[in-house]
């Protein structure tokens, strides 16, 4: 019953195509490309080292670094260093994170905690933890406690800040919705605020994991015999630059591994995004 409109192309005049002008501005990242670039840089670096273009003292070649790591591994010291550091990082991170999440939630949910907490965090967060080392030694001695405390302190502040901004960022309409169904406070915190703040919390974990890795070097300034940080410090003191970079490479492998774990957690827990 409906009238059909003409749809065929008119043949009476020459046509020309409309020029496509929407190209570019969509960088697609290629996984392989990154690895190739990395391999190229390492190869170039090695070539420059082997050709004697670079003083090995200032920039040891990749092979020298690999050799240093290998020697460390076969002597068994690598595992001692890595396990000592992992223990400090792990315990320090867990303690700092637990305290940070608790304080972050308190600040996000309570007016009293907010006014007190934000003032304290703003005042204490910017203090470089290294400046506190002598105090930490006085309070906690030179055992594992001050090392763990150094890491935990660094992790705590970043976590508290990212958690409370995460809690603040939970859409108010979801909380109102829950209230309109008479959902009790504890359930709102557990079922609405916690998952709502989780993206910000996990993003915070990314940062605090790096902070923990950064601080392990400071922490192991405190009389550590083993640990990647202690190893890096000693290599620096002795001007053994190949060992120094070996330690740095191990630390960055830690960093990559932690990044992968958090990436996996995000995929697991935040699939709904």
């Amino acid at each position: 019953m409906l009238d059909r409109a003409a749809s065929e192309i008119a043949q009476d005049a020459a046509t020309r195509p409309v020029r496509f002008r929407g190209a570019g501005f969509v960088p697609a990242s290629s996984r392989l490309g990154g690895w190739i670039a990395l391999a190229l840089v390492i190869a170039l670096w090695q070539a420059a080292g082997s050709a004697g273009l670079v003083n090995p003292l200032f920039l040891p070649a990749p092979l020298a670094i690999a050799r240093a790591i290998y020697q460390l591994a076969i002597s068994g010291a690598l595992w001692q260093h890595v396990s000592a550091s992992l223990l400090r990082i792990g315990v320090g991170w867990v303690l700092g994170t637990a305290a940070g999440v608790a304080v972050g939630f308190a600040i996000g949910l309570s007016r009293l905690a907010r006014s007190v907490g934000i003032t304290f965090i703003s005042a204490l967060f910017p203090i470089p933890k290294i400046a506190l080392l002598p105090l930490l030694i006085l309070w906690l001695g030179i055992g594992e406690e001050p090392k763990i405390a150094t890491i935990a302190l660094g992790v705590f502040f970043s976590t508290a800040i990212s958690v409370y901004s995460g809690v603040d960022a939970v859409p108010r309409n979801l909380i109102r919705m829950a209230q309109s169904f008479n959902v009790p406070f504890a359930t709102i915190v557990r079922k609405v605020i916690w998952p709502g703040a989780l993206p910000a919390i996990l993003a915070g974990f990314r940062i605090t994991a790096s902070v923990a890795l950064l601080l392990v070097v400071s922490a192991e300034m405190i009389g550590a015999q083993y640990g990647i940080g202690a190893f890096v410090l000693q290599a620096g003191n002795l001007m053994q630059t190949d060992q120094l970079l070996a330690g740095v490479v191990i630390l960055s492998v830690f960093g990559l591994a932690v990044g992968k774990v958090i990436g996996w957690l995000e995929v697991k827990l935040l699939h709904w995004r």
Binding site: N173, S180, F181, P195, W272
Partner: protein, 257 residues
């Protein structure tokens, strides 16, 4: 159960938003609230549902809600307010989690609510995978699950395109018919008001006062008919003439702000 607005006034700081608004929503009745932008329609609904404390006056209830009602006053939100990390089924189940129900009872309520909104096949989908219309169906399904006596609907269709709106309006007519529920339906869309309401409360520009309460004589079933269209248009025009000048003023004010 009746819902009564008892001389409700509200101010946000210096800004008077509502001025002495009183009306009653009787059991099973659908009352639409219309008015120019910024007349305090949504504020009024929040006050009626107990989400906002009025400056003076009070929302009141009279009589007892049906025995099976878990949440007599239940909102349907403009922005749906779905938990993005929860599936359709989990969203519908959310308001039942803290209720004193056996697992089987809870299952039955969720199943019934999903079925009535046609969401049974989408139970495992997540909100971001759904269109706007389907998301609001989840919002409605969640509201139905708690067996409300009165639905408080805050512009439930205004975030949707016109075709989806048409389809959902048909759903509303059906649900209101077989649920025996009352509703307060806040909208700026006069067609929705004319299609769904038993009575239409017309608010004035800020501060919102009641200008007129218009009764709609036809049954909701009759109004879906083509023959009724002319009558409904006349009704819309009548209300439009009440708010047109003020709507223009409100529009200007918004632009100046």
């Amino acid at each position: 159960m009746d819902l009564i607005a008892n001389h409700i006034s509200h101010r946000f700081g210096d800004l008077a938003v509502l001025d002495d608004v009183s009306f009653t929503v009787s059991a099973g009745e659908v009352v639409a609230i219309v008015g120019p932008s910024g007349c305090g329609k949504s504020t009024l609904l929040s006050i009626l549902g107990g989400l906002l404390q009025p400056t003076s006056g009070a929302p009141e209830l009279r009589g007892t809600p049906p025995a099976d009602s878990l949440n007599p006053l239940t909102f349907v939100f403009q922005d749906f307010a779905l938990l993005p990390w929860a599936s359709v089924e989990e969203n519908v189940e959310f308001p039942l989690l803290h209720a004193q129900l056996s697992a089987a009872q809870r299952r039955a309520l969720v199943e019934d609510a999903l079925r009535r909104t046609g969401l049974t096949d989408f139970r495992n989908t997540y909100p971001k995978q759904l269109s706007g219309g389907m998301r609001q169906r989840v919002g409605i399904s969640r509201a139905l699950a708690v067996r409300p006596a009165i639905l408080l609907m805050d512009e439930p269709l205004s975030a949707l395109d016109s075709q989806t709106r048409e389809l959902l309006m048909e759903d509303f007519v059906r649900l209101l018919a077989d649920g025996g529920m009352g509703a307060v339906y806040v909208t700026h869309n006069l067609e929705e008001a004319a299609r769904l309401a038993d009575r239409i409360v017309v608010l004035s520009r800020r501060p919102g006062r009641i200008r007129e309460v218009v009764a709609v004589s036809m049954t909701r079933a009759e109004r879906g008919d083509i023959a009724a269209r002319e009558k409904l248009l006349a009704l819309q025009n009548q209300i439009w003439s009440l708010i047109r000048t003020e709507a223009i003023d409100a529009e200007r004010e918004v632009q100046h702000a």
